[in-house]
Symmetry: C2
Subunit: 676 residues, 2 copies
C-alpha cells in the first residue's frame, strides 16, 4: 500500500500532484487523497502481487507431460484394439482432436475446448510471460524480438496442451473417458484454485483477470462434468462398438425429415402478409431456432462459440481499459485541471476568474466525464448486442445456404456456378474458417465501438448537454443559420413528388403514363441546382449507411462487403465460399445416409478393417468391399446405387456407361471401386 493513502493505479510509486512531468501517461491516474471517491467499488485498491500455491509454471510443468503421456497411451491402445493381431505394424497415429468433418456427438466438447483455447489466446497476447513453462524472469528480460519468439512458441504450445481434452472421447472407450476426466479435473482444479487464491490481479484492472477467465472456467467445468457422465454411462452399459458411420442417427433423422415435410413449403408462400407480421418475421430471422432434422455442422458451431468468446474477451478488455481510468480521472479532477480545461474552452465558464470560485466548473467537468463514461458503456453494450445478433443471424444464413447447396441450388447461394469439390485453396480456407470468424468478430467489435462511441459522444455533446445546460451548440447554430437552405431542400423534394403524382403521371387503365412532358422538362431544368444539393445530402447518407452497414456486418463471413462482381476479393466471403465447398462435398447428409444404408443390410457384424493406415474412415465408406453373396434383389439394388454414385462422382466413366447399364449387377461392383 502506498503511503498516506494515495493510491497508484500502476505498481510504480507515484508522487501525487505532478501532472506535467515526462511520465504523464503512467501517472495520470492519480486522485488526491483529500477527495473521497463516490463509488469506490470499482477503484483499484492497491492489489498485492499474488503468488498462488501452485504457480502457473508448476501447473504447466505437471500437466503438459501428463497430457502427453495420456494421449500417447490412448493412441497405442486404440491402435492395439483396432489392429488386433498385427498390433505394432505401422506407425501408430495420434488420436485426432475432434472429427471436424463428421457429425458425431462430441459437439459440446469441441466447442468447449476451442472456447478454452480462444480464451487462452487472448490472455497470451497481452501477457508479458506468454510461455508459462519458462520462469517469468526469462521472458521479461529478453529483447522484444525474443519475446515475440516466445509468443509464437506459446501459440503452438497451448493447442498441443489442450488437444488431449478433445481427443479423449474419440475412441469411445471407458479408458478414454477416464483419461479425459483426469485431465479435465486437473485443469479445472488448478485454474479454479488459482482464481480462488488470487481473485484480484494488479495488472490492468483488479477484476480483469477474474472476468477474462470466466469462459475458460466455464469450459473446463463443462468438460469436467461431461467426461465423468460419459465414463459412468460407458461403465454401466459397456463400451459401445465404434460405429462405422459416426452420427448415423442424425442422417436417418435428416432423411426422415426430408421425406416427411412435403407440406411445409406451401404455408410459407404467403405473399400478402401484413406489415407487422413481416416485421416480426424479419426480427425472427435474426434468432436461430433449431429445426428438427437439420443440424448445423460441427465446424460452424465451433466457429460461433469461438467468436462469442472472443467478442466477450475483447469487450471485457475494452471495458476495463477505459472505464476505471475515466472514473479515476473524474474523482481526481482538481481545480488546476479545470482552469486548464476552461482556458482551452472545453468546459464552459460562467465568468468566475478566481480559482476559489471554480466549484461549478469542476462539477461541470466531472459531469462531462461522467457523460463520456455513459456513452462509452452504452456504445459497448450496443456493439456487443449487434455482434451477437449478427452471429445468430449468420447461423440462420449458414443453415439456409447449406440447405440450398444440399439441394443443388448453387446459384441461389453463389452468384456464379461453382464446382463443389475440395481444392487446395478451399481446404486451407476450411482449416482457417473458425479462426477467421473469431478474428473478424473481434475487429468488427472494435470498429463498431469506435464508430458508435463517436456517434454517442457527438449526440451527447452537441444535443443533450447543450439542452441540459441551456447553452448553444454548433449544431443548433448551423440549423438556425441555415434553415432556409434545409427548408428549400425539403420543399423541393416534396414539390417534385407532388408534381409527379398529380401533374406528370396519368392513370391509364392499370398503369401510369407520363404526361405534360414539357412542364416536366421545365421543372427538371429549373430544379437542377437544388437537386444537386439534395444529391449532396443523399451522397452523405450513402457514405453513412454504407459505412455503418459494413461496420456492423464486418463479423459476418456469409455476406460479401464488396459488390457482386468483385466479391471474391473480400477475404472473409472467399473463405466462406471455399468452406461451403468442402463442407457440402464432404458432409452431404443424404450421401452419408445412403452410405449408411449401403453398409447396413448385408452385414450383421462389421468386418475387420483393412490394415492400410492411409485408408481413413471416410474413404472406407466410399469404397466398401463387394458384399458377400446374399439375396439377389437387394444385391442388384445396391449395385445400381453404386453405379449411380460412381457415375456421379466419376464423370470420366460416363464414356463406358452404356455397357455398365447393360449389366449393372455384374459390373456394378467393379465400377463401385474406382481406383485410379
Amino acid at each position: 500500500m502506498a503511503p498516506n493513502g494515495s493510491v497508484g493505479f500502476r505498481d510504480s510509486p507515484v508522487e501525487p500532484g505532478i501532472f506535467l512531468d515526462e511520465d504523464l501517461g503512467s501517472d495520470w491516474y492519480i486522485y488526491e487523497s483529500t477527495e473521497s471517491a463516490p463509488h469506490d467499488d470499482l477503484f483499484p485498491d492497491a492489489v498485492m502481487e499474488c503468488h498462488p500455491t501452485i504457480s502457473p509454471q508448476m501447473y504447466h510443468t505437471v500437466m503438459a507431460p501428463i497430457s502427453l503421456a495420456l494421449i500417447l497411451a490412448l493412441s497405442f491402445l486404440v491402435k492395439r484394439r483396432r489392429l488386433h493381431l498385427s498390433c505394432w505394424n505401422g506407425v501408430p497415429g495420434l488420436l485426432s482432436p475432434g472429427n471436424l468433418l463428421e457429425q458425431d456427438g462430441h459437439r459440446a466438447v469441441a466447442a468447449a475446448v476451442l472456447a478454452l483455447l480462444c480464451s487462452e489466446l487472448c490472455r497470451l497476447l497481452l501477457d508479458p510471460h506468454p510461455l508459462p513453462l519458462l520462469p517469468p524472469t526469462g521472458t521479461t528480460t529478453a529483447s522484444p524480438a525474443a519475446r515475440e519468439f516466445w509468443k509464437v512458441l506459446a501459440l503452438l504450445y497451448f493447442p498441443a496442451l489442450y488437444s488431449p481434452l478433445l481427443a479423449c472421447p474419440g475412441p469411445r472407450h471407458r479408458l478414454g473417458y477416464a483419461a479425459g476426466t483426469l485431465l479435465a479435473w486437473g485443469h479445472c482444479a488448478a485454474q479454479a484454485w488459482h482464481r480462488a487464491q488470487c481473485p484480484l490481479a494488479p495488472k490492468m484492472h483488479r477484476l480483469y483477470s477474474l472476468l477474462s477467465h470466466v469462459p475458460a472456467l466455464l469450459s473446463l467445468s463443462l468438460l469436467s462434468l461431461w467426461y465423468p457422465v460419459q465414463l459412468l454411462r460407458s461403465l454401466r452399459s459397456g463400451d459401445s462398438p465404434e460405429p462405422r458411420i459416426s452420427g448415423k442417427s442424425y442422417y436417418r433423422k435428416y432423411l426422415k425429415a426430408l421425406l416427411s415435410k412435403r407440406d411445409r413449403k406451401g404455408s410459407s408462400l404467403k405473399m400478402d402478409e401484413s406489415l407487422s407480421s413481416r416485421i416480426r418475421s424479419y426480427l425472427l430471422s435474426y434468432i436461430y431456432i433449431p429445426e428438427e432434422g437439420f443440424r448445423i455442422p460441427l465446424k460452424l458451431v465451433a466457429s460461433v462459440t469461438v467468436a462469442v468468446v472472443a467478442v466477450y474477451q475483447v469487450a471485457v478488455l475494452l471495458l476495463v481499459a477505459v472505464v476505471p481510468p475515466l472514473r479515476i480521472m473524474r474523482a481526481g479532477m482538481s481545480k488546476d485541471v479545470v482552469v486548464l480545461l476552461v482556458q482551452f474552452g472545453l468546459v464552459p465558464s460562467r465568468g468566475a476568474a478566481a480559482p476559489g470560485d471554480l466549484e461549478q466548473e469542476l462539477r461541470t467537468a466531472q459531469h462531462f466525464l461522467w457523460a463520456l463514461e455513459v456513452c462509452y458503456i452504452c456504445s459497448l453494450v450496443l456493439c456487443c448486442l449487434l455482434t451477437y445478433a449478427m452471429l445468430l443471424r449468420s447461423l440462420a444464413m449458414h443453415r439456409s445456404n447449406l440447405r440450398a447447396l444440399y439441394q443443388g441450388a448453387v446459384l441461389d447461394v453463389f452468384s456464379k456456378a461453382h464446382i463443389l469439390r475440395p481444392s487446395r485453396e478451399s481446404l486451407v480456407c476450411w482449416m482457417a474458417f473458425s479462426s477467421f470468424q473469431a478474428a473478424f468478430a473481434c475487429l468488427g467489435l472494435l470498429i463498431q465501438q469506435v464508430i458508435f462511441f463517436l456517434c454517442f459522444v457527438a449526440f451527447t455533446f452537441l444535443v443533450v448537454i447543450p439542452l441540459q445546460l441551456g447553452t448553444s451548440s454548433p449544431l443548433f447554430g448551423i440549423i438556425r443559420n441555415m434553415w432556409p437552405f434545409w427548408l428549400t431542400l425539403v420543399v423541393a423534394v416534396l414539390l417534385q413528388h407532388l408534381l409527379a403524382h398529380s401533374q406528370f403521371l396519368e392513370q391509364h387503365s392499370l398503369q401510369k403514363e407520363i404526361t405534360n412532358r414539357r412542364a416536366l422538362y421545365i421543372v427538371t431544368f429549373l430544379l437542377f441546382p437544388t437537386n444537386v444539393l439534395v444529391g449532396a445530402m443523399a451522397a452523405v447518407w450513402r457514405v453513412v449507411i454504407s459505412g455503418l452497414y459494413n461496420a456492423v456486418h464486418l463479423c459476418r463471413l456469409d455476406i460479401s462487403l464488396l459488390h457482386r462482381g468483385v466479391e471474391t476479393f473480400d477475404p472473409g466471403y472467399r473463405t466462406y465460399c471455399h468452406y461451403l465447398r468442402v463442407e457440402v462435398s464432404q458432409c452431404h447428409p443424404l450421401l452419408k445416409a445412403f452410405c449408411f444404408l449401403l453398409l447396413q443390410p448385408g452385414r450383421p457384424e462389421p468386418p475387420a478393417p483393412p490394415c492400410d493406415t492411409q485408408l481413413e474412415e471416410g474413404l472406407q465408406l466410399m469404397h466398401p468391399k463387394p458384399p458377400a453373396p446374399g439375396r439377389a434383389r437387394s444385391r442388384r439394388i445396391r449395385a445400381r446405387w453404386w453405379v449411380a454414385y460412381t457415375l456421379l462422382h466419376n464423370p470420366s466413366l460416363t464414356a463406358s456407361r452404356k455397357t455398365a447399364l447393360a449389366d449393372p449387377a455384374a459390373n456394378g461392383a467393379q465400377l463401385g471401386v474406382p481406383r485410379p
Copy 2:
C-alpha cells in the same frame, strides 16, 4: 500593396511575426520579407479589388429581361405557327428546355448549358453575393439566415436565366437560332470581357476565379459557335419541318444495327483467353468506345458532363485552398517556428540547441512541408483520374444495362424482377438523376482525396523520408521487433497450402478427394491460434479493401455499395434503378422505330395536330388514329402489330384475347386505342 513588401494572403492588414494572438487562423499565412520565395509565380501578389466596366449587376440586369423577352416571343411564335388558325386559343406554353426524354439532335447544347449551370452553382455556393441582381452591399450586411435565403433564390434564378439558351433550338426555326445566337453571344461576350478585364481576383487565390470560369467560358464559346452555324444552315436550306418523331434517323440506325449484327456474339465467347488479353479487355472496359447503332440517352450524357465539370470545380477548389498556403508557410518558416516543431518532436534535431545552429532543422522542416505538398498534389491527381475513369466506366455500364433492358433481360440488370413502368418515385428519381450524379462525384472526390492524402503522407513519412534521412521510423521498429510474428504468419499460411496440396488431397481420376483426415484435424487444431492472427490480418485487409472500394466507387450510381439483399437502401443505386425504369419504358428505340413505321406509310403528309394542348407528342405516337382505308395487306399487318403492342402493354386485356385473335383485322383497330 502592403507596406515593406510583406504580403498578406487575406485582405486584412497583418502584423508579421505575431503567431500566437487570437486571430491565428487568418494570420498564419505570412512570410517574412527577408526570405526570398523560391517559386513566386503561384504566390498571391496583392491583387487589387477589380471593378470591370460591365459590373455583374449590370450584366444580369440587362441579360435577364432580354432572355425573358426572347423566350416569351419565341413561345408565342411557336404557338402561332403550330395552331395556325386559332392562334390565341389556350394558354401558350413555354418552350421546354431540351427534350430530355427524346433523342433529338441537341445533345451538345444540353450538355453545354448544364455544364454552365453546374459551374455557376459551384460559384454561387462560395460567393458572399450569390444573387448578382442585387447590389453587393445588400447581401453582405444581411443576417446569415437572410444570406441563405438569397442563396436559395439564386438557386432558382440561374436555371431560369440560362434556360432560354437551351430552349431556343426547340422550334427548329431560324428565328429560334437567331435568338440563341444573340443570347449566347451576349453571355459569352460579357463573361469573357469580365475575365479579360479582371483575370486575377483577390478572393481565395488570385488564379482561382480564372480557373473556375474555364468550363463556363468553354460552354459559352461552344454555344456561340453552334447557334450561328445552325442559323446559317437554316437560312441556306430553309427551315426543316418539325419532325413528328424526333431523332428518327437514330431509330432507323438502331434497327439496322440490331438486324445486321447477328454474327457479333459468336466472337465474344472465347473462354480460353490469355492473361494479357484478359487484362487488356479489362482495361478497355474502362474506356467508353461509342458503338455504331447505339446512342447513350441525352440524360446520361448530360449527367456525365455535369459530373466532370463538378469534379473539375471541386479539384480546383481543393488545389487553391491548400497548396498556396502550404507554399507560403514553407517560405515563411522562421527559426522560432522550427524551435517549436523540434520541441514537439515533429522535426528531428541533430542536438543543436543554440538558435543560431538551426539551419539544418529549418531545411528539414521546409523539406517536410514540400513533401506534404507533393503528397497532396499527387493524391489529387490520382483522385481526379480515378473519378474520371469511374465515370467513363459507368457510361459503358449504362450502355450494357440499357441494352440488356431493351432486350427484356431485367434479371441481368436488377437482382429481382422489376416492372418497367414509370411511377411517382421513379419519375422523381429521373428528374434528380443528373444532379445526383454530380453531387456523388464531388463527395466521392473529397473522400478519396482525404483517404489517398493520408495514405501518401503515411507512406512518405513512415518509409520514404526515414530512408532518405537515415533515421528510424515507427514502422521499421514494428517490423524489426515483430519479425518472428510476421514470419510465423507467413510460414503458417505456406505450410497449410503445402500440406493441403501434398498431404491432404488425393487426385482421383479428374477430381481431388480429401485424404489423411486425422492429420488434417490435428493440423487444423494446432494451427487454430495462429490462424486467428492470420484472420486478424485478413479482417484488416477486408476493412481496407471495402473502404477503398466504396470510396472509389462512391461516384458510380450504377452499382450498389450495399449487399445484394438491401441494395434499395442505397440512395444512389435506387435513383439509378428508377431512372432506368423511366428511360427504358419511355425511350425504347425499337418501340419508337415501330411507332415511326406506323406513322410512315399511309401518310404522305402529317395531319394537322389536335388542338388539345394536354396531348403531347409521345401520347400522339401511342394512340394514332385508325388509318384511312388503304391496301388490305398493310392494314392487316399494322392491325396485328397493334394487337401485339396493346396486349403487351395492357395485360388486363389478355382475358379477351381469344376473340381478338379470332378476327384480328376487325378488332385490332378497336383494341389498338385502349382508352380507359
